[in-house]
Amino acid sequence: MSKFFHLKFKFCYYLVICALAFGFSLTGCSSKKLSSKPTINVWHWMTDREAAFQELAKRYEDKTGIKVNFELYAPSDIYAQKVRAAAQGRTLPDIYGLLGEKRDFAAFIKSGHVADLSEVMNEENGVWKECFFSKALEVVEFKENNTYAILPGIYGAPIDIMNIQMLYNKKLFKKAGLDPERPPSNWEEFIDNINKLKKVGVPGLVSGWGEIWMIDCFASNYAFNIMGEDKVIATLKGDVPYTDPDWIKVFSLFKELVDKHALVSGVVIMKNKVAEQTFANERAAFAFNGSWCINVYDGMNPHLEYGVFLPPKVNRKNPMYIWGGGSSFSFLVNDRSSKKLEAIKFLKWLTDKDQQAYLSSQTKNLPSNKFALAEIPKILAQFADGMDSATHPSIWPVNEFPGVIEALGKGIQLILIKEKTPEQLAQELQAIKEKESSRIVSN
């Protein structure tokens, strides 16, 4: 009898389990039916844009019923690691931003992590493509016969654009008896202004030169100005050595800045955030910073009076190029995503005039859509003017080895602390360049 009850109990137990499993599977099916519209997942690291992105996601859901889930991962270096790990594990979201150089971008494309948007961009006589600033689009574009052997195409959509220029404090200019509406137009004037500012106790230039890329950017600007674009590209290709007198002239500018006490103390290890605080708190007359700073300064000191100008020329014959474009602020679509089409539609909507205008007004960044430029603040318009002089490593036909870039940045830091001369740095850089070239050949 007890055996019978035991069997009966066992039977009931299994029946309940089966019923539960069946119930759960039904619930699973029904929930799928209820939310037939997919959720688009987006990864980014842009803390200052997060609130605006969330608002735009809400608007998109109201309009289409498709939920867009923006996931913020900061700081940027942690985000970069996360994206790489996800790429290795093939768990990238539908849309993501990529931090890195053009060769990293190319590697992502080769590994099938990035969708080619050319076809969609060129639809309807290229309406989507034409709405972008050409400089912004160039950074996500691979042209024919590119050195990375990537099929020509457009592999992303720029969200906004930036450029890096010089800024000056108008109030401190007045204090030193300088014309607040006339920033220096050449290097001699710049040094002269700094001398005048020093006399009234105002420190000169501040920048986040503790971050290698900021030094690289400043040096690159002056390399383009001193020797011209062709010679810089020839150096990257290995045809012109770093020991060339023009390169030594570039490195000597840093020595001159130190010798003339033109830099704020501690700039050599200063993070850009600290440099921004220094300028916002009126502890430096000049800053070398990007267009994103408008939002930052606004938060730190809303009464800061400042102007924007191109870095003062050393060589008046050559144009001054600045870094700009949308390299870091572009979204890519995961080619393996099952919601690829929906993701592309969302990106198209996000880069449309109205959304771009909203994003620009909220984040005070330059919109990537040129038709959204109409209503931007005056200071942002000054940055926008510089876009004609913009260039970026992402659009150069060839890029420098990361090892050389690091040695250049660290070497300039050593010039700034007077441990190295420009000539010594030039020789060391050339040696590293040759070593890296031979390593690539042997590998």
């Binding site: 270096d77 890195g100 590697a107 080769k110 503790g210 704020v264 050599v268 290890i269 600290v274 502890r283």
Partner: protein, 343 residues
């Protein structure tokens, strides 16, 4: 014992089969078809091995450690083997293909001057931590071990720095050391030492020492807790007997406390060395390895190779060499402590 030996031999054969299969797959396109055959053979051998273990009565208890063994294998053994493997490849961390380069990465690490400078910097930080940090920890532990008023309060205070976020500590100390508006310079001026003020972290002569001091300040609490726990295990009767015999405080410390604390000293020393050699968050927040390479440490170099230069293989080779050095240091420390105990 025989079956044990068989299991070991078979396990090694299985592992070697998997490695061989992967090597053939990576290196030769023509012989790729052999890889699945080898994997099949290895899997068959593995099944036989596992069945034998399960069937053998004396090994039924082995099943109980399988979950722990599986976790250990997945999270420790596999990554370790993978790092060893990647150290022999040239790989950017993104592309699915990698190129076998043998010992090239290791040779390059050995020739890398910046790498050895970073090792020297880590050694310097460790030396400061071993001396300054542990001496401070010992003095405070000895003080707290005595019956003193508000002892628990002090214990809590001394343990605050270790529980603080390294990023916060780094940023706060960066502000203290700031050359323009830093607290340290402010105090120096207030005390009349105007000529001593400087940008502490951008000066190559002071940057590393400044970082080492912060590291020691941040870490002394760990040593303090361990040393205090060690001191409290020493029987009080020994001290009472020594006092009765008329021993001075120094004699008590030299002849009772120090000899009985040797295992604790060794533990603290090993933990200090391992912790200090691997420190990097403070450096990232305070100096980012600068100015130049003056505050670079091995972990920042590994990070730079992996993220900055996209050289995963090289970064793995750096990690292996660094791990081997740490292992050697720990081994030497252990031998020294054994000799001291015997003496």
């Amino acid at each position: 014992m025989r079956i044990f030996k068989n299991i070991y031999v078979k396990s090694i054969i299985v592992i070697l089969c998997f490695i061989l299969a992967e090597l053939i797959y990576q290196k030769s396109h023509n012989l790729r078809f052999i890889s699945p055959i080898i994997i099949l053979l290895a899997v068959a051998l593995l099944i036989i091995l596992v069945t034998k273990i399960i069937l053998a009565k004396q090994f039924k208890s082995f099943l109980f450690i399988v979950p722990a063994l599986a976790i250990f294998s997945i999270f420790y053994i596999y990554p370790f083997i993978k790092v060893l493997q990647l150290g022999h490849y040239s790989w950017d961390g993104i592309l699915p293909t990698m190129k076998f380069v043998g010992l090239y990465n290791f040779i390059e690490v050995i020739k890398d001057k910046v790498w050895w400078q970073s090792m020297f910097n880590a050694g310097y930080i460790t030396l400061i931590a071993l001396t300054f940090q542990n001496a401070l920890a010992l003095i405070l532990a000895l003080a707290c071990d005595r019956q003193m008023k508000a002892g628990n309060f002090y214990r809590m205070i001394f343990f605050i720095p270790p529980v603080l976020s390294e990023v916060v500590v780094g940023l706060v100390w960066q502000w203290i050391y700031d050359g323009n508006y830093g607290l340290l310079n402010h105090w120096l001026v207030a005390l009349g030492f105007n000529n001593l003020t400087k940008a502490w972290l951008s000066d190559p002569h002071t940057a590393l020492t400044c970082v080492a001091i912060v590291h020691s300040w941040k870490g002394f609490g760990w040593g303090f807790v361990i040393l205090l726990a060690g001191l409290q295990t020493i029987p009080k009767q020994l001290y009472e007997a020594a006092r009765v015999e008329g021993a001075t405080s120094w004699q008590v410390f030299k002849n009772i406390t120090a000899p009985l604390m040797i295992p604790v000293f060794v533990l603290v020393a090993i933990l200090t060395v391992l912790g200090s050699m691997q420190s990097f968050i403070l450096i990232l927040t305070m100096t980012d390895g600068g100015p130049g390479f003056h505050t670079e440490v091995p972990v920042t170099r590994i990070l730079s190779s992996m993220i900055g230069s996209s050289r995963f293989g090289y970064a793995c080779a750096q990690s292996i060499i660094f791990g081997a050095i740490l292992l050697a240091i720990s081994f030497v420390q252990k031998r020294i402590s054994q000799n001291m105990r015997q003496a």
